[in-house]
């Protein structure tokens, strides 16, 4: 380790004319770049769920404006992500790690949160590339390897062409350059979270991310960590496009009930009171100083608000007090430990059910001496239901045995949504459009002709229901089967079902995973409703536009839901098979040579004659004993032998010689091959 004695370097003072020009050119770019700087925002949304649980949705957004030095010089934006975007020319990408399954029935399926943050279990990755068609696959394969290294996960298994597919139009951001792949069995844990946190400027050292206490969040019922990046168009010639990186973490947690002693029946109706400390075991002691905004939101969804309004009305009826929403929200039926900085009420034009309410808390106001610990205490029991997607989708397997089976997707109307669907139900030609996107691995050989459609339990002609279908059949060991469909169902449909039959294929011995007997996963199907948009529009305000989370809520994205991942048991071979093969080969060789030599060497007729001859003669004592012994060993009736005694010693010598010969051969064999 050498230490520098004195500055060595003399700054070049004499700049050549050309150099001056460069200076000026870069100076002007800098001035342009100053307008937009790299930004970071952190937000947390909390939402009570109907089944006594709490949803926490962390939303971190970093953005890098278009600039000449993206991928090389960064101040807040993670360099690794920027280099990834530049190297693989990624236009849009989403990677999610999920543990557990989103419970669409009780946690809702219509809000922006389940619609874009409820993900299939394991890893899901899709990416849109900005490269010519023939380079997309190579880019995808390199991307999977890089992500695998970056996030400590086995994403590199998505490299093989059998695991990813190219949806044409049914996957929402669909375009020709999209690749989509899932790993349903990937286990998600802290080793995936730590590299994800490294992308945040403050990691989990300061700001809202402090709440991410590993034991608390991994104890939850659902855990989904997502990374979404979009590269925005480059501003001008020579500029590298900007990037918006959106990192979200959605957890569903069960708050520790503070009234544990109460009887079960009455406890059922009372929502548990909770605080940040009770669900995460930590408090927010200040913002991440690099964040432009740092907010915590509490969202009460439409169902809950409607229920509260109803309860409020009943209480106030005796007093004959006309209530305004303003009064109502300042005297709610629950208590918050901190005063909200703002209350947003959803602009409600479509839904009669009520409008959701959002409380905003600014973390900036709190400090280490006065940490932010939001708590919510219910004063009255409330029961409500979350808003559902128009149809509830589930998928299951039919049939038995290891040979064939069928996949069924069942869509059931959610009673609750009838209200808003009824609005156009009077119309004769009311249709409900449903997009289905399903990928099946090649070893599940789907017969597409066997597709059957049932509406309200009546079989229907396929052409009546399916408006558009795109099928790319699987190729053995090359590509998975992809099925994309657009269904047009009548609005008053109660239930619909799709079934399709398949044969189970055989795999090569080294294609089986280590735990082959567990079965093979069929990735979740994606059901989307393009006519329904999950968006929450709040009063137009500057503060809404500034918050990335709220502006995300305002985007019109189609309602989407994932079905369950299926587990198909396949015939598993005996994995000691190679050794059996070796044994059989060796046995066959031994039999072949043995019998061949026997046939060539022995003269059966001669021997028989000779034996008869010998039987007539007397035998010695030693050979008598020997033959007796051998007869005993063989379990045969002893016959008096007729071997001559004189030959025995000579035969023994020959035997010894042969044994030595065999031993010598064995030693030679060992020596040669070791």
């Amino acid at each position: 380790m050498a230490l520098l004695q004195r500055p060595f370097f003399v700054l070049l003072l004499v700049l050549t004319h050309q150099f001056m020009q460069y200076w000026i050119a870069f100076g002007s770019v800098n001035e342009e770049g100053q307008k937009q700087e790299e930004e970071f925002n952190e937000e947390l949304l909390l939402k009570p769920l109907p089944d006594r649980k709490v949803l926490a949705h962390f939303h971190f957004q970093s953005s890098a404006p278009p600039s000449t030095s993206n991928g090389r010089h960064h101040h807040i934006f993670p360099k690794a992500i920027s280099q990834l975007v530049q190297k693989f020319r990624v236009k849009e990408m989403e990677l999610s790690f999920t543990q557990g399954r989103w419970n669409y029935e009780s946690w809702g399926g219509f809000d922006p949160i389940p619609s874009s943050n409820a993900k299939p279990p394991g890893v899901e990755l899709w990416a849109v590339f900005d490269v010519p068609q023939h380079q997309i696959d190579a880019s995808w394969q390199n991307l999977t390897h890089t992500l695998s290294g970056l996030f400590c996960a086995s994403i590199n298994f998505l490299e093989s062409t059998t695991t990813y597919s190219a949806p044409e139009w049914s996957f929402p951001p669909a375009s020709g350059n999209l690749r989509y792949g899932t790993l349903p069995r990937e286990a998600v844990c802290t080793e995936n979270l730590t590299p994800w946190l490294k992308l945040l400027p403050c990691r989990d050292k300061a700001g809202i991310a402090v709440l991410l206490d590993r034991p608390s969040i991994y104890r939850g019922f659902y855990h989904s960590q997502r990374l979404h990046l979009t590269s925005t168009g480059s501003g001008s010639e020579g500029m590298v496009s900007g990037i918006i990186l959106e990192q979200t973490l959605t957890v569903v947690l069960q708050p520790n009930s503070q009234r544990a002693g109460m009887a079960y029946a009455s406890e059922r109706h009372i929502q548990p009171s909770w605080s940040l400390t009770s669900i995460f075991g930590k408090q927010v002691s200040g913002t991440c100083v690099l964040a432009k905004s740092s907010n915590v939101y509490l969202l009460l969804d439409r169902g809950l608000v409607a229920e509260l309004e109803h309860l409020h009305k009943e209480n106030e009826k005796s007093a004959e007090n006309g209530f305004t929403s303003q009064n109502f929200w300042t005297k709610p039926s629950f208590e918050l430990s901190a005063d909200p900085d703002r209350i947003f009420i959803e602009e409600n034009s479509l839904h009669s059910k009520g409008s959701s309410v959002l409380y905003k808390f600014q973390v900036e106001k709190y400090s280490e001496s006065e940490p932010f610990d939001l708590s919510l205490t219910w004063k009255i029991p409330v029961v409500w239901l979350s808003q559902q997607a128009p149809l509830h989708a589930s998928r299951f397997l039919m049939g038995s045995g290891n040979e064939r089976g069928a996949i069924a997707i069942s869509l059931k109307s959610t009673q609750l949504s009838e209200g808003f669907m009824g609005a156009n139900a009077d119309d004769e030609r009311c249709d409900l459009q449903v997009n289905v996107f399903q990928v099946v691995p090649w070893y599940v050989k789907v017969y597409f002709h066997s597709l059957q459609v049932f509406v309200n339990q009546q079989p229907k002609a396929i052409s009546d229901i399916i408006e558009k279908i795109h099928v790319s059949p699987s190729k053995d060991k090359v590509s998975p089967g992809v099925m994309e469909m657009v269904l047009k169902l009548p609005c008053k449909v109660n239930s619909a079902a799709l079934t399709i039959e398949f044969d189970k294929g055989f795999l090569h011995i080294d294609e089986y995973p280590p735990d082959a007997n567990q079965g093979f996963d069929i990735p979740s199907a994606i059901i989307s409703f393009p006519n329904f948009h999950a968006s929450m529009i709040f009063l137009k305000d500057d503060s809404v536009n500034k918050s990335p989370l709220l502006s995300k809520f305002q985007e019109k994205s189609p309602v989407m839901s994932y079905t369950e991942a299926l587990l198909v048991p396949l015939t598993t071979p005996d994995f000691s098979m190679p050794y059996n093969v070796i044994t059989i080969t060796c046995t066959v060789f031994a039999l072949y040579f043995g019998s061949l030599l026997n046939v060539l060497r022995r003269r059966v007729a001669e021997e028989e004659r000779f034996l008869k001859e010998k039987a007539a003669k007397k035998t010695g004592r030693l050979s008598l004993l020997l033959s007796k012994l051998s007869a005993k060993l063989r379990g045969r009736q002893w016959e008096p032998p007729s071997s001559p005694p004189a030959s025995s010693s000579f035969i023994n010598a020959k035997l010894v010689f042969k044994v030595i010969l065999v031993a010598g051969l064995a030693v030679g064999w060992q020596y040669f091959f070791s």
């Binding site: 050498a2 520098l4 700054l11 070049l12 101040h75 190297k87 890089t146 990691r203």
Partner: protein
């Protein structure tokens, strides 16, 4: 072959079986009844049968052999061996041309030449790997006429007699003298020249190009001049002015693919106290770009930067009342870099085998500011930084006055440009040290002190020559040893699949190595460095080809089971 041995086994086991039933053996029985014995010898039929069985077996054996056959691309083993023996036995010889010019002297040039040569031989230490083949020419310019030695040297003809005089060296501006010397010896020659003049102010200077000059006082000037000339030629121009054993030549901070990524990191230990940012783009364009361009033949260098937050150091510092600052000492340095919290990620943009050098600016938090580095002798380091060979360098930068702005702690401040420039001077010095050069511009030799003129590009021309030579030598040896290992590995594993691609890479690597050798012996350093880099990177690519790793284990039993392939 296995099948044959198997046959032996079964054969012999068969015969032992027969032996155990020995009493029933008809052969060699003395009491054998000749009446019942078949008289005729086994006929042609049996022989035919035996041979047909044997033949069919041999035929089948070929099919079996074919089915377990593997593909092996032919590798040029002989050429690999010849490359390593060539590099091993007769060294890689770089030709060097020295030129000594004595202005205002009237000695005999031949005598001067011989005495300089004897001094050079005294100073030269034999490098076991690469050596130099030097030629020396001496010119004595007595003002009116010039004398050359040897008279027919092809290298001394570029000097025009009488074009410089002792008056040129009277001025004290060394940079101007250096500029003045460029046209005198012709612009672009590869020879190293030393000018010796008589004058009042004795000094010895090495210029930015391949020139040096000595001003000697009156007295025993010729003897002193000869020693000095020999020293500057051997120690400075050939060895780069580095001490023996400072940083070994093997520690060349260049990746196996010939690339270096300079990753600059600004670490804010605690952003709650203050947040500093920098304008790195300006630095990159103004200060780093010329240096990177200069080092082009040696390595392909790219620059990245990032700012990280919440990155405390791992070692402790203590408050020094006298200095009014926090102090950490050199023995804490191994613990200064906090690998848990400093996530100086490897670069995705760089390839797998690139070398990444991390340069870190550490901004201490308010509770350890100002933070100073104490040298073992108790003094405070001027640069407040240190290097770690093959990893990079660290500089601690203390904000002005260490004042915490309590009103607006979160405001992002920018490091002043002047401080940044100072910092990057230190970084340039550290970078030079990582390459084995000195960070100070003075060379203290046995015969006196030489003043080295620094280049605005960070590396002077003769330093780049030294780097190129050293780099060529290192790369060629590394390439030869990698290819040698590959050929040994391939020959030791007869059942290893060798893809065509590996064969191609080996071939190209050998070609590049040959080109580098021929360029080196012609004295074209830059292109020899570039092609030696290519040779090494191709050799490494071949050795680390993914297909080699997958089949390096292949058990013999697999020959029996024809279930794959």
């Amino acid at each position: 072959m296995a099948e044959i041995s198997e046959a032996h086994d079964s054969d012999s086991s068969k015969s032992t079986d027969n032996a155990s039933e020995a009493p029933t053996q008809p052969e060699s029985e003395p009491e054998f009844n000749p009446k019942l014995m078949r008289k005729t010898k086994p006929g042609l039929k049996r022989l035919f049968l035996t041979f047909s069985v044997l033949f069919s077996f041999l035929l089948g054996l070929q099919f079996l052999w074919k089915s377990v056959e593997i593909y092996r691309s032919p590798l040029p083993f002989r050429e690999i061996d010849s490359l390593s023996t060539q590099l091993g036995s007769d060294h890689l010889i770089f030709p060097l041309h020295f030129h000594a010019l004595f202005v205002g002297f009237d000695s005999d040039p031949d005598r001067l030449r011989l005495s300089i040569l004897s001094e050079i031989t005294k100073l030269t230490s034999q490098n076991p790997k690469c050596s130099h083949n030097y030629t020396l020419s001496v010119t004595v310019d007595s003002g009116s006429h010039c004398l050359h030695s040897p008279t027919t040297s092809p290298h001394s003809c570029s000097y025009q007699c009488g074009s410089i005089t002792a008056i040129d060296f009277d001025q004290n501006d060394d940079v101007a003298i250096d500029e003045r010397l460029v046209p005198v010896f012709g612009g672009k020659t590869n020879e190293y020249s030393v000018v010796v003049v008589k004058g009042e102010s004795e000094r010895a200077v090495v210029g930015k190009n391949r020139r040096a000059w000595v001003v000697v006082g009156s007295g025993r000037e010729v003897e002193i001049a000869v020693v000095k000339v020999a020293e500057v030629l051997v120690k400075v121009f050939v060895n780069g002015g580095r001490e023996e054993g400072s940083i070994r030549n093997e520690f060349m901070p260049v990746g196996a693919d010939g690339r270096i990524v300079l990753s600059f990191n600004l670490l804010n230990a605690d952003p709650r106290d203050w947040v500093y940012d920098w304008d790195f783009r300006k630095i990159d364009n103004n200060l780093l770009a010329p240096m990177i361009e200069a080092l082009g033949p040696v390595a392909n260098i790219s620059v990245e930067s990032q700012v990280l937050y919440h990155t405390p150091k791992a070692s402790f510092s203590y408050w020094d009342q006298q200095l009014q600052s926090y102090v950490f000492s050199t023995k804490d340095l191994p613990f200064f870099v906090n690998s848990n919290e400093w996530h100086l990620d490897t670069s995705i943009a760089a390839g797998g085998r690139s070398k990444i050098l991390q340069f870190v600016v550490y901004v201490p938090s308010a509770k350890e500011c100002p933070l100073l580095l104490q040298l073992p002798n108790g003094e405070i380091s001027n640069t407040n930084g240190f290097i770690s060979p093959m990893w990079g360098g660290v500089i601690v930068w203390n904000p002005q006055g260490c004042l915490k702005d309590d009103n607006k702690p979160t405001a992002r401040r920018t490091i002043p440009m002047q401080d940044l420039e100072n910092m990057f001077e230190v970084f340039t010095g550290q970078f030079r040290q990582l390459f084995g050069f000195k960070s100070v511009n003075i060379y203290a030799g046995a015969s006196g002190v030489w003043n080295l003129l620094p280049s605005e590009r960070g590396f002077t021309e003769w330093e780049l020559d030294v780097l190129s030579r050293q780099h060529t030598c290192f790369n060629l040896h590394s390439c030869a040893s990698t290819l040698g290992s590959l050929s040994r590995l391939v020959q030791s594993l007869p059942r290893m699949i060798i893809m065509d691609e590996i064969g191609k890479q080996v071939k190209f690597s050998l070609e590049a190595a040959k080109l580098a050798q021929s360029n080196a012996s012609n004295g074209v350093y830059e292109s020899s460095a570039a092609s030696s880099r290519q040779a090494r990177s191709l050799a490494e690519d071949a050795f680390f080809h993914p297909s080699i790793m997958s089949v390096s284990y292949y058990s013999f039993e697999h020959c029996f089971a024809v279930y794959s392939l």
